[in-house]
Assembly symmetry: C2
Homo-oligomer: 252 residues x 2
């Protein structure tokens, strides 16, 4: 089975030109088939603020109304995606920017209103592996942003970590997939104040212990849950890391 690397970049890395250039350069050097997935950084929030659009957050999750969806589409699919593509082309990495709507590559359903209405948030229903395999065969590097669609004419906002792990799972029957979550820390830290306290390896048992001790908390929990979910679904390897570090290996 051929190897496939899926690199997700997010957090402050997107907003910091030096850090972004650094990780993109590393990405261009990865040999063999590869996919990039990027989040939005702080630019969308900043633009919302400038335009006087209030950010509505329910239980830690952002509500995507019509205005914030337009801003997400502009910033993720427009500005950030195309800046990344032009940087990759500079290094002769033949890349193609994609939302889920392009080539109908990721179809999602608008999240059902239960206790709360999260607006135009999309839950992934289908990854078009056929078209992704075709691109990879043509040595094209797909670059996904955090926008999907419902195939009924509606764009939807979908978390970039979720896109990365769904891609990894969907492509695991065809490739030996290595999934790397890259962010602004060096990995999962034992001590949030100490960048050199990277935990080398996390197993389910260790994860439970670290959660109980309050060492792993907040935004790191869904990230690691995502990682275990991917491993449970035949993804070969999951790493959580940052610049200048081997990061944390998540294993079953």
């Amino acid at each position: 089975m051929k190897k496939l690397s899926i690199l997700k970049i997010g957090g402050k890395v997107i907003d910091n030109q030096t850090e972004l250039t650094h990780i993109l350069k590393i990405f261009t050097k990865i040999k063999g088939p590869k996919i990039l997935v990027h989040g939005g950084g702080q630019k969308a929030n900043k633009l919302s603020k400038q335009l006087g659009i209030p950010t509505n957050i329910i239980e830690g999750r952002r509500v995507t109304n019509k205005e914030t969806l337009d801003i997400a589409t502009m910033v993720y699919a427009g500005l950030i995606n195309k800046q990344i593509i032009s940087q990759l082309q500079k290094h002769n990495t033949n890349s193609l920017g994609l939302t889920g709507a392009d080539l109908n590559v990721i179809k999602a359903d608008k999240r059902k209103v239960k206790k709360h209405d999260f607006g135009f948030a999309g839950d992934i229903k289908m990854v078009n592996t056929k078209v992704i395999k075709m691109l990879i065969k043509k040595e094209i590097v797909p670059v996904f942003c955090a926008i999907t669609h419902d195939q009924k004419g509606q764009l939807l906002n979908t978390n970039a970590d979720t896109i990365a792990s769904n891609l990894a799972i969907a492509l695991s029957p065809f490739y030996k997939v290595k999934l790397i979550f890259h962010f602004d820390k060096k990995g999962v830290l034992k001590d949030a104040q100490n960048e050199d306290s990277v935990i080398k390896k996390i197993t389910p048992k260790k994860y439970l212990a670290l959660k109980n001790k309050g060492i792993i908390l907040n935004g790191m929990i869904p990230k690691i849950d995502n990682a275990f979910h991917a491993l449970d679904h035949q993804v070969n390897k999951v790493i959580i890391s940052g610049n200048h570090s081997k990061g944390t290996k998540i294993c079953l």
Copy 2:
């Protein structure tokens, strides 16, 4: 030789949801290979105004500074392009949104500073016909926005009419190309006040006469120049038209 239709949509059609939906539906019904090129409408200007970014125009041409390039990238490559893609997918037209940077499909040079500095404006140097032919062969419909790149990491703003005619010319050795410039009028009008005064056919001789009489003026001149330029370079057919009209045929 296979036929290829290139439809460029622009003007107020982009800003009017009903008109846009109408022309996109017509586009989905065109049989055989096809390409869509879209302009930006008034959304970019509106956003610039909201963000307090001044629009600088020299001799009728907009100057693209860093801020206006970012806005163009957000609005053209993000918002408008992806809304069009999601609409086309709804009608089972398998489309792919592209800037010139994606797949390195259109390479441009930053316009040289002569009398004036137009900033990040791009003059087209290369159309990657190989990759476009590959997409068409896979029954993928490319949808181009008015952003190109220099392959050195810089995105550039390039007029959508120019992109459409450059695509038409570059693809004419491989297809019998029909190029349609679609906008908010029914065609080239004899009387600007009368929507039903569409001129059916314009030859170079007639064009000269109409220009001399002051019937064809302003923004229509570069549009028709572009059309004749395309015909001079083996493009098979050029039409300037609007909704609910056969438009004006430009012929040598």
